[in-house]
């Protein structure tokens, strides 16, 4: 049994996609939780989906980070419940302090919507254990604010602790300036918490989880979650 909850903020627009992806891949129903609710039902994992929560007012994810449901998401994450933040969800994780840094306006100032190649730098997290380290995967990005920024000390600490999960790279897996779509520091596309149970990334695994969508590289993220949940029982 996998109990997954997806938080729906006003302005979320990838919530249904994530729901469909998790249900098709794992076979278990997903609970949708409204941002105004006081608590998330008991869950094996929580997803903060992509979109434009609260119209991106003030800063992307800033208002959502202070919505009623987030108090419980933060408490549950700190108590060990795995949380996946995709795109706007990653921005919410950073604004809420569950992950360090911030997602700034793309260096090009443009909204970028296209597939990118990513290198898996950490295949040990709750959401990436079905990938291989250094594997190159293709996932789509669709954002105007995905330019990851943190001070040098924080970046060094993230690298030292192996907490960079995905990096923008070329086809050969090299994290080059040319393969960096948005100006992110050190080509960072996704990071995780110290225990690897909270993961945030700008690309959208739910948009390429089966071949009719044009690719299936996102599938392993949800398979990883299923494996991670079932593992302790086996």
């Amino acid at each position: 049994m996998l109990r997954a909850s997806v938080v729906v903020f006003p302005g979320s627009n990838c919530d249904r996609d994530v729901q469909v992806a998790i249900e098709k891949i794992t076979g278990f129903p997903v609970k949708m939780v409204w941002h105004g609710d006081a608590s998330v039902p008991p869950s094996d994992l929580i997803v903060l989906p992509g979109g434009f929560s609260y119209g991106d007012y003030l800063r992307c994810g800033a208002m959502a980070a202070h919505s009623p449901i987030m108090r419980d998401v933060i408490a549950k994450a700190k108590a060990g419940t795995p949380v996946l933040g995709i795109c706007n969800g990653f921005q919410v994780l950073c604004e809420s302090g569950l992950l360090p840094g911030v997602l700034m306006r793309n260096a090009s100032l443009k909204f970028i919507c296209r597939d990118v190649t990513l290198r898996v730098d950490n295949d040990q997290t709750f959401f990436t254990k079905c990938y291989r380290k250094d594997q190159v995967v293709k996932l789509p990005i669709a954002h105007a604010e995905g330019n990851y920024f943190a001070d040098q000390e924080t970046l060094d600490r993230l690298e030292g602790e192996g907490r960079v999960v995905f990096r923008y790279c070329d086809e050969a897996g090299e994290a080059t300036p040319q393969s960096n779509p948005n100006g992110a520091q050190r080509n960072i596309a996704g990071i995780c918490s110290e225990d690897g149970r909270v993961v945030g990334l700008m690309p959208h695994p739910e948009r390429l989880f089966e071949l009719p969508l044009g690719g299936a590289d996102g599938r392993r993220m949800f398979e990883s979650a299923l494996v991670s949940v079932l593992e302790p029982m086996s």
Binding site: L58, A62, G101
Partner: protein, 80 residues
Amino acid sequence: MKARIRITLKNGVLDPQGKAIQNALSALGITGVEDVRQGKYIEVQLANTSEAQAKETVERMCKDLLANSVIENYSYELAS
């Protein structure tokens, strides 16, 4: 009491929007612009209270929501 709050990007944080504004100024033929940094200005109307209390309230709203301390500084003034 009114709080006039300015939120600016920290030194060293790249400001692509500021750069775009600078380029637009240059395209308009406005010369002599060396750098542009953009930010936010927020006015908050506060219920009548002591200045000390108002400062405490504004500090808290800036720290908790209005500014992101990773990339932004804030400053404010209070006016009656």
